[in-house]
């Protein structure tokens, strides 16, 4: 008490000074003191101070800030006399325009309000709606986020503590909702740490605080949901969810339609998962808000009104054939459904029947069922016509009908099979038979039974039982039909015996007029079956236990009897015979014939020994089929013995198919042998033997040695084996050989291309990626060197080798060899010219700069070839040249056009057509409107 009294006396001078600044300083000092000691003041003192401050508010504006600070200090006093809070606020609202104050003073005002609301709630409520009005005026236009947090807190207090809003509900809503949705990014070095989320939460607490805002807030939310800003949408949906949990059905009743439209849109055309789930949450809350309502006797049930809307928009999507909005509709329905027991009753009752309907109608028979009869009679009558294209169309229609699940009856299928059988046996037109076979294949996969009982017995009779009347072409069609229909194990069981019977009858000569061709076709059919049939244990066993031994046995019989032509057919089937490998090996090595059916063979046949007959030695190709297609993990029994016998055979046998097959079989095995000393020494031994044969020009088996060398080289090259170099180097050196030079050049093609029957990935061979590129990059220099050093008459071999390599390479690699390619164009060998041109053509489409520099040479050399036997390829290159940059090729235009006049009159149409195209393009070059 004492210090403050002194203080007053002392300060009276400055507080009464005529200078506003001086007065302001005085008030400020007073306020600061009060700030420190408001707890010690008596009620009387507070009353005096309040009266003084209220008075000061009317003073010069410069004094207002310290006055407010003083008042704020006083609002914290516990001894505030009754009525003072009201009078303080009245003067404040009356004399101060809050929004023209500075940031801190505004904050001061908000804090005063907060303080008073904490301690003098009853008094403030006594102010009635004036308090709300005063507050609304104070915060109207506030922009600072710190102050907004305070203002939102006050507004929240007003709403939650039940202050009388009077007629200022809308004003309070307006003054707060104008910030919605909050768009605030804190400055980078923000010291106040206010986040967007804080503001959003604070504002949401205000807006969703009272149902009185419903009529203003809901339209606002609907409007903001239209926004393109994702965060605005999200905020709106979350605010909606928050307020709906406070609202009753009558608050939302008039906005249901608008809300539903917006929510539906957010889910149907959703752009983000968060928005979609916020939308669904809002829908759930809305539905449960409506479910909560207590109905009056005269009001309609807004829940069912609303759910009617939802169902109207969602239900039909569940049945749409395009299924586009099924999932979002289902989500919406689930969201509404999960809100309350009543809602789930309504929705389930409406949706379930149509879902169940849907399920049963979609799994039902096809839409054509009503027309089945007429469609079938149409197809069958078309099949009976003589017009072949009508028949072909009918078969493809039959295939389509059969693929409609549950459409055709068994009797239809049987009739169809009868028609197909008839056509197979009688129709001469190849296109029709092809279509019939294809159709039979498609139908058999779906309806095997009818084919087993009808088609196969009929075909069997036709092939086997009939006398010589059976025409060759008919048998051929029957065989291919048998293969085509054998896609199901049950059919295979019936069809393969027929084919085997054909093979064995062909053998024993039981059938009249069976040609080698038909035997091959029967084997091909078996092969096709093996490839296409579903891989089940049953079929696998059937092949391994019955078919393959049978085939081997037939082949062996044929070999022993000196019959030929059987082998090539068997080969492909035998390849599929992994399991049989070990038995095959013992057959070949030991002459073990015990597993073969019809065992009447001599007991010790030696198939791998250079015997008297090539018909036996060529059986080695079946051995290759058996052992070379095994996976690498499968151990081949007696491999060392096998390898040495194969090597022996391939180096000594004189029958080309036999020694080539032996070499291939050897190579196939070497490619898969595991790395190690035993492999290395095997290779070294073979290399030595091969090289010594090749080095002696008088050796009678040079070709054999060469064949073995090239296959072994390929086997090693594919697996990046380092010892391959010795063999490929030998191959390079042979390019200059008088006898083997041309073969060596062709050998490069074998090295570079995939081989069909062995050493490919299908046979599980060890094939590394990019082995061609690797070979090329390691050897191109050798090749160029060899070419430059070679005498003129040997050069073609080098070029041929080069073009063989380059042909198989991607074209980037080719670019390195441009000059050599240009050189190769001068080579008189047509083969070289042709392969060079075909290498060159793709390069010309995107010409490298190096090529453009040599344009003169290129054009002259190409033009020199346009009347030769490689003229088509040359013309294509010239055509490609026309796409070069115009300024580079324009100088050649006249010359090219002149030169191209001659092939326009070539005797071959294909040549003329190339010339016409090339010349047309060259004419357009440099001409207006051309290019």
């Amino acid at each position: 008490m004492f210090p403050s009294a002194f203080f007053f006396l002392d300060r009276r001078l400055s507080l009464t000074s005529s200078q506003p600044h001086t007065r302001a300083r005085g008030v400020q000092l007073l306020s600061e003191v009060l700030h420190e000691c408001y707890g010690n003041l008596t009620e009387r003192e507070v009353e005096v101070l309040i009266a003084f401050y209220e008075n000061r508010l009317k003073d010069h504006y410069i004094i207002t800030p310290p006055v407010l600070q003083g008042l704020r200090a006083l609002t914290k006093c516990t001894v505030l006399p009754p009525g003072s809070a009201v009078s303080m606020l009245r003067s404040l609202f009356q004399d101060v325009h809050v929004q023209s104050l500075m940031l801190t003073e505004r904050s001061c005002v908000y804090n005063m309000l907060i303080n008073l609301m904490e301690t003098r709630e009853a008094e403030l409520k006594g102010l009635g709606a004036d308090f709300v009005f005063g507050f609304v005026q104070s915060m109207d236009g506030e922009r600072d986020p710190r102050n907004l947090l305070l203002a939102f807190q006050i507004a929240k207090n007003i709403i939650h503590r039940g202050y009388d809003l009077g007629k200022f509900t809308e004003e309070l809503f307006e003054v707060t909702s104008c910030y919605f949705p909050i768009d605030f990014t804190p400055p980078a070095n923000d010291p106040h740490g206010i986040t967007k989320e804080e503001l959003i939460e604070a504002l949401r607490a205000v807006l969703s605080g009272t149902p009185k805002f419903a009529e203003f807030l809901l339209p606002l939310i609907i409007e903001k949901l239209d926004s393109d800003v994702q965060s605005a949408k999200l905020d709106s949906l979350q605010t909606l969810t928050a307020c709906l949990s406070q609202y009753e059905h009558k608050d939302v009743a008039e906005f249901l339609e608008g809300l539903w439209t917006s929510l539906r849109r957010e889910v149907f055309q959703t752009s983000s998962e968060r928005i979609e789930s916020a939308g669904l949450a809002a829908l759930t809350t809305l539905t449960s808000c409506l479910s909560r309502s207590v109905l009056n006797s005269d009001s309609e049930d807004s829940l069912s009104t609303f759910l009617d809307l939802v169902l109207k928009d969602c239900k039909h999507h569940l049945c749409e054939p395009d299924l586009k909005l099924v999932w979002p509709s289902a989500k919406l329905l689930q969201a509404a459904c999960s809100a309350s027991n009543r809602a789930s009753h309504i929705i389930t009752a409406a949706v379930m029947p149509s879902l169940i309907d849907q399920y049963s109608s979609r799994t039902q028979e096809s839409v054509f069922s009503a027309f089945r009869e007429s469609l079938c009679s149409m197809v069958f009558s078309a099949l009976s016509e003589t017009n072949s294209s009508l028949q072909i169309t009918a078969t493809s229609m039959l295939t389509s009908l059969a693929q409609q699940t549950g459409l055709l009856l068994d009797s239809d299928i049987e009739l169809a099979v009868d028609h197909l059988t008839r056509l197979l046996l009688t129709e001469e037109d190849d296109r029709v038979s092809l279509a019939v076979v294809e159709c039979a294949g498609a139908l058999a996969a779906l309806h095997p039974a009818a084919f087993i009982t009808k088609l196969i017995p009929r075909l069997k009779t036709e092939i086997v039982a009939s006398e010589q009347y059976s025409h060759h072409a008919v048998r051929q069609r029957c065989l291919s039909a048998l293969a085509a229909v054998s896609t199901q194990p049950s059919i295979v069981r019936e069809s393969t015996p027929v084919l085997l019977e054909v093979l064995s009858s062909a053998h024993t000569g039981n059938l009249v007029g069976f040609s080698v061709e038909e035997v091959v076709l029967a084997c091909r059919s078996l092969q096709r079956i093996a490839e296409q049939v579903q891989d089940t244990e049953e079929t696998g066993q059937c092949f391994h236990e019955v078919i393959i031994p049978r085939l081997l046995s037939l082949a062996l019989q044929a070999a022993l009897q000196g019959l030929s032509g059987f082998l090539s057919g068997c080969f492909h089937v035998v390849r599929l015979a992994g399991q049989t490998a070990s038995r095959a090996v013992s057959l070949f090595l030991d002459g073990d014939v015990s597993f073969l059916p019809d065992n009447s063979f001599p007991s010790h046949i030696q198939l791998l020994k250079q015997g008297d007959s090539w018909s036996q030695s060529q059986m080695v190709c079946l051995l290759m089929g058996c052992v070379c297609s095994l996976p690498r993990s499968v151990e081949v029994p007696q491999i060392d013995q096998l390898l040495s016998q194969l090597e022996e055979m391939s180096c000594t046998c004189s029958h080309p198919l036999s020694y080539t097959s032996a070499a291939k079989c050897f190579a196939g095995l070497v490619n898969k042998r595991s790395q190690g000393d035993s492999l290395d020494s095997l290779i070294q031994r073979t290399t030595k033997r091969v090289c010594s044969e090749l080095d002696s020009t008088s050796s009678p088996v040079r070709t054999q040695a060469f064949t073995l060398m090239i296959w072994v080289a390929k086997a090693l090259l594919l697996r990046y084996h380092p010892l391959s170099t010795a063999l490929t180097d030998k191959l390079f050196s042979l390019l200059g050989d008088a006898d083997l030079g041309a073969m060596a050049a062709d050998g490069f093609s074998l090295l570079m291309s995939d081989s069909a029957d062995v050493l490919n990935r299908g046979c599980h061979a060890d094939v590394r990626i990019m082995y061609r590129q690797r070979f090329f990059s390691e050897n191109s220099a050798k090749l160029v060197q060899g070419f430059n050093a070679a005498p003129q008459e040997k050069k073609p071999n080098y070029l041929k080798a080069l073009s063989n390599i380059v042909n198989k390479l991607p074209k980037q690699e080719t670019v390195l060899l441009l000059s050599l390619l240009l050189e190769a164009l001068l080579c008189p060998d047509q083969g070289v010219q042709l392969s060079t041109l075909s290498c060159l053509e793709p390069v010309l489409i995107n010409p490298p700069p190096a090529l453009i520099q040599q344009l003169e040479a290129l054009v002259s050399r190409l033009l020199a070839l346009i009347c030769s036997s490689v003229r088509i390829a040359s013309l294509r290159c010239i055509h490609a040249l026309s796409r070069f940059p115009e300024h580079e090729i324009l100088p050649f235009r006249a010359r090219v056009l002149r030169a191209l006049a001659r092939p326009l009159d070539d005797k071959k149409r294909l040549v003329r057509s190339e010339a016409v195209q090339a010349r047309g393009e060259w004419f357009l070059l440099g001409s207006p409107g051309g290019r």
Partner: protein, 166 residues
């Protein structure tokens, strides 16, 4: 640009026949064994000339064949006598582009056939209002040559003969 059906008048924007009737293309010529036999002489035949004339229209992605301007039956060639006759049919009788089409056909044949051929291009009788005048222009060597000196005319012709933007 060229076809009488569907073509813009040069410089104008009015379409003369915006929706031309389209005819199916005859398929690719099938390759016969004799064509691949180097020793057999294949004479130049009607179909070959017709294929040469599958001129494209840069604005409509249709060839003259599809617009039925040129039909194979109206192409006559005699390889032995070195003569070619082509009748073309403007799709509407007042087509202002008739001369241009004729010119394009003629230029294409000049560029694609050996020198020995005498080339006659004219309108199918009775299908165009100023048939006679157009035919006369097309038959006049000097007028054709002069037309091709005109770079804007040559430009249009070249555009028709260009296969690039198809």
């Amino acid at each position: 640009l060229v076809s009488s059906g569907g073509l813009k008048m040069s410089g104008g924007t009015r379409l003369e026949n915006a929706n031309p009737v389209i005819f199916q293309r005859s398929g690719e010529r099938l390759l016969t064994a004799s064509e691949e036999d180097e020793d057999v002489h294949d004479p130049i035949d009607d179909r070959e000339i017709f294929d040469i004339l599958s001129i494209n229209d840069p604005e409509h992605p249709l060839s003259l064949e599809e617009l039925n301007v040129v039909e194979q039956v109206r192409v006559k060639v005699n390889d032995a006598e070195s003569t070619v006759g082509v009748e073309f049919t403007p799709t509407i009788p007042h087509c202002s582009m008739a001369t241009l089409i004729g010119l394009s056909i003629k230029v294409k044949l000049l560029r694609s056939l050996p020198d020995r051929f005498k080339i006659d291009v004219h309108i199918t009788p009775g299908t165009h209002a100023s048939e006679e005048a157009v035919n006369k222009q097309l038959a006049d060597k000097e007028r054709v040559a002069a037309a091709l000196e005109n770079s804007s005319l040559l430009e249009v012709v070249n555009q028709c003969l260009s296969t690039r933007n198809i």
